[in-house]
Symmetry: C4
């Protein structure tokens, strides 16, 4: 298989897997950087559960569809382009509104990793608020200026919460981005529950570093394959190990 | 297809979609205004999941079945008639007891939009209490006087919570009413979770206006079609874009 | 169909419906009074989801199997016998450990109806504690003395919570007992959520009376039939209206 | 069937049952002691839902695969070996990250049995923290020294919570270990809910003793068979009573 075919296969699987996990529902989207680094791949405007290979379009980093006759794209495709533009190492981006992350975007409570599996979310997830730069908006990232402002909030993080909206997650591969999006939601849910019981002991910085070191040890992506195989089984997609 | 056929198709789908979402269960109902504006369409007394086209009956706005031989109707059909009577722009009404909205009807906490997707619920959802006008009742809207009292509580809102009972949601189309009923429940669930973490930043009035402006921009109903397509897929109903 | 056949059909359906609702799981049981009032019908020791008509046995009110060769019965069959003995109007009993009721058995918080659908649980659900009469036990109702002590705690109530164990629900028909067991769990879940938001307005005594008056108005059992039809659909059992 | 065949059958079923219960997901594992007491049986590195009999390998107690050509094993197999080494009576071990137990590993709140079904978790579940002996790690039990340190934390308990990680559960049979892993999660969920309502009355020590005495009365394992039969039904595995 060519690199493009591998990416396309994982991107279609990612759409179905994120839907099965409840990370996306009618809304939300996932993209991958094109092997030609100045473009990205993203479905036309469709609920992820319904996305097939034929729905995937190529976009310039400014959000313009390469194919002039492409069907209508997601309004918020600028989230993806701006992140690929700002962060050359990023290969995949997930945007979603999953349930447990929302409360951490609208209160002063910081989302931090509570369990080793969620080490990839980083030490503390930044919160971006459209209000700060753009005043009253409909909160959607509907142009490249908003996309770039959001991308800036990432600095070197993997995830950003968006106040009154949802979150965006970036990864060095599609499998890593999906893994992090899943555990961002899981960690938020765990932190909501634990916060009932009193003060929480979060992972220490040194622990987070060691968790992330192991995940990227050995072959690239290997650390995420068990997770991917499990979810491929759940959505009926044939699993292929990261090559 | 005639306008009547389009409405009937969406109304049957709405029954199944609301059941799949858990917004209705054994109880709850959804109606649409008849193209002849002084009537409405509503299933006979049946759990929404079980409703087929043949179950839909025509009612006068006072709750009288047009067809004298119609099977027994929902006791609370007066909710629907009274709203169509009071609000000419309303085309569809959902009544339900979904889980997360109940707590906001029985406490002093106000339900307000926490996330852009729930902008259609309005700035603050009013609470209606049968007790205020009618004293001790079984809380059901079992006559047109109660229906009209409830309709008054809406003023210009899309949703009203009913103390010790559930909620009623109105929309300018069936798809909008189902969308709002779903996000009223979702927002209540999010607000319950967020309320654990401290003070909440709700959407600002200017943000709510912009969210709602976008949803009604362009072709009527277009903004709700992605949501509808996703849920049609989930209940096995063929999706047709709003014409 | 004979009265016995009607009862047997509803009792098998009740086992499957309670399992589908999550009110029972591997454990829990449901019985019906025999048309011969001094006996009751209950499955042999089996998870309710797996119960078929052939599993139903006749028991004396003291818990003795009528058929000497009957397979092993539930250890806690004394719950059922003691209630039929103490309360001639009771026709069906459900015993379960559903999730949301447990917290109200182990804390000082009283479980009270928060929404019209749960009016049948009564004004305030009593809590029975095996410790009071029997000291340290394994908490199971493993003899008729414990069953009778529990039955006393009902006085005229429909439900009793059992500290560190679960609950028992009684009804004037199988459909009513299943309805009440479902809404006892639902109300507990709602009350747990609402308790986060501040003081709760529960149903008033006059409202509870009117809710219950409507449910028993007209033909016996008619008020519970919509609920029953919906759940029969969910478990693939043919629905028959209460005759 | 030979003793080995019985163990193998129950171990494959245990993998599927724990997955169906949500106790394990992509991650987590379950083992059984080999009839030859100085070895144990554990799948190669695979999500439990996907484990078949052919995936089960034999390991020495120090975590070395007996078969030199065995596929890659779970990194954390040392959890299992160290427990079998330290506790001759233990026949099965489950390691998982189920949702409700995590909060009790990262806060000062102690997990204690709230309901008779969870008596096997013991009077209070100890918490082990890798930090105490090993400082900053990736929290995984990736060598036998960490496994032995964890095993020490059990003393005579059936369960240990692992800070920022999950939990480990031991049993005198596969069915008992799966039962306890399920009720450890269930009890944690109940305790989280009950903690909202005020002070909790936990099971008394004498009650816990009597609960556990009943479970081990009569034929070995009999007390866990109803639970096992129910879950075999749910995952489509033929049930065989404990012989």
């Amino acid at each position: 298989m060519t690199e493009s075919e591998v990416i396309l296969g994982d991107l279609v699987a990612a759409n179905r897997i994120l839907a099965a996990q409840g990370v996306v529902d009618a809304f939300g989207h996932v993209s991958a950087r094109h092997p030609r680094a100045d473009r990205f791949l993203l479905s036309c405007a469709k609920s992820p559960e319904l996305v097939a290979a034929a729905d995937i379009e190529e976009y310039e980093l400014d959000g313009t569809a390469v194919n002039a006759g492409a069907p209508k794209g997601y309004l918020e495709r600028f989230i993806h382009g701006a992140l690929y533009e700002a962060r050359p190492e990023i290969q995949s981006v997930v945007h979603n509104h999953s349930r447990s992350v929302i409360p951490f975007g609208v209160t002063a409570q910081k989302l931090r990793p509570i369990v080793h599996s969620s080490g990839t979310i980083g030490k503390e997830v930044p919160v971006w608020d459209a209000q700060h730069t753009f005043g009253d908006t409909d909160l959607l990232i509907s142009n490249i200026a908003m996309g770039r402002d959001l991308a800036k909030a990432f600095t070197s993080a993997n995830c950003v919460l968006m106040r009154g909206h949802g979150c965006t997650v970036a990864g060095k591969s599609i499998r890593e981005a999906v893994y992090t999006a899943y555990y961002l939601e899981a960690n938020a849910s765990l932190q909501l529950e634990a916060s009932r019981l009193g003060e929480i002991t979060f992972l220490r910085p040194g622990e987070i570093e060691k968790v992330n070191a192991r995940l990227t040890k050995g072959k690239r992506g290997e650390g995420f394959d068990r997770f991917w195989e499990y979810w491929c089984g759940r959505v009926g997609v044939e699993f292929k190990p990261t090559s």
